[in-house]
Symmetry: C2
Subunit: 188 residues, 2 copies
DNA sequence: GGGGATTTGGAATGATCAGTCAATAATGTG
DNA sequence: CACATTATTGACTGATCATTCCAAATCCCC
């Protein structure tokens, strides 16, 4: 039949993700992307369409992995509140590299339907998991019963965005850990 | 002597700020800027040097006004905790437009010394004011005494960044208000 | 009111941008 | 082994980028 692709799609996508995380969409040139990805220019366009579609694909892959890691952290620990604490802790630990989701939202807001769709789809999954954990923690007596799960979930989402922006601004990880602890107090 | 400048520097700078807030540095073309600013192309380069210096100047002006507004909110109200609450409330109310500081940090992190300098200078002022208010609120019995003022200040800074990113992501202002309330609980 | 200084707008400039083309290389099947 | 099919490579394209040049317009001071 035909010549097979020499590179692993997910692998080069990870390289693209790394570039986009650091420089954003506008700040990442096609040349910088192909260099980091280790493929030819044409291979990029053959395999991904154009720069925007590559960005969408990168975002989708990133979101998949990120949400999965969030969920794993949330489900760890014996009590629901432990999972929530580990969820925040993991964000602190990984905050040195910029989050592609936060970067994308800051760069484009809600102005691109296809991007918005990805954010909303994954956001809903994470939000649902957070609500479930919060209700469970309330049942355990670890989260204040007069806290609305949706509000608490929104607060936690906002908190992780805040931690990531703070990290990007150069805030000491020890301070970030304190921020996470303080946030947890807010829902207790 | 010479022909006077036909435009008000601060006024065109405000127009530039509006463009940068919405599209970031890379996303704002010189053409888009001069159009929004209502001046000629050459006038931009005469008055501001180049696009990057314009960005720096815009950031500086924005930070000046923003910090001033933060401080005014913090100092309002009879009790210190009221000022902190109004500070958060103001952020919620103004979060529909993207914050230039958050945008800049997400786009460039700490990679540009001149930008970092602006962020740090204004950040220190705001941080100092927050610490002072927190100590005052602790003296009033409105903030937990076992809360370290520096940690609480970092938490509040992180919180406003989170609220702004959430707003940019399309979160309902009512939810943002709930986020602010929950955050306040974290330091009580 | 004239002259030196400076702003201004429009037309260039070179660089870089995203994206394409055409030729070459590599594969599986007949 | 040859053909059909696809991947790869590097040169190429038109558009847009930030920035500059230049000539005209405008003003203040003498």
């Amino acid at each position: 039949m035909a010549r097979p692709q020499e590179f692993d799609r997910d692998q080069v996508l990870d390289a693209a993700i790394a570039v986009f995380r650091q420089h954003g969409f506008e700040g990442s040139s096609a040349t910088a992307l192909v260099t980091a990805m280790g493929i030819g220019r044409q291979s990029l366009y053959n395999s991904f369409g154009d720069k925007w579609q590559l960005y969408r694909d990168a975002m989708h892959r990133y979101a998949t992995g990120e949400v999965e890691a969030h969920l794993a952290a949330l489900r760890s620990g014996v009590r629901a509140i432990d999972g929530i604490q580990r969820f925040l802790q993991r964000v602190v630990e990984t905050a040195q590299e910029m989050c592609l989701g936060v970067s994308s939202i800051c760069e484009f807001g809600t102005s691109h339907a296809d991007l918005l769709d990805i954010h909303e789809r994954f956001g809903k999954v994470l939000n649902a998991a957070l609500c479930e954990r919060i209700r469970r923690a309330q049942a355990d007596g670890d989260v204040s019963p007069d806290m609305k799960p949706d509000d608490a979930a929104a607060f936690l989402m906002s908190t992780i965005a805040g931690i990531r922006v703070s990290a990007r601004a150069g805030t000491d990880p020890k301070i970030l850990a304190a921020v996470a602890r303080t946030a947890l107090r807010g829902i207790r």
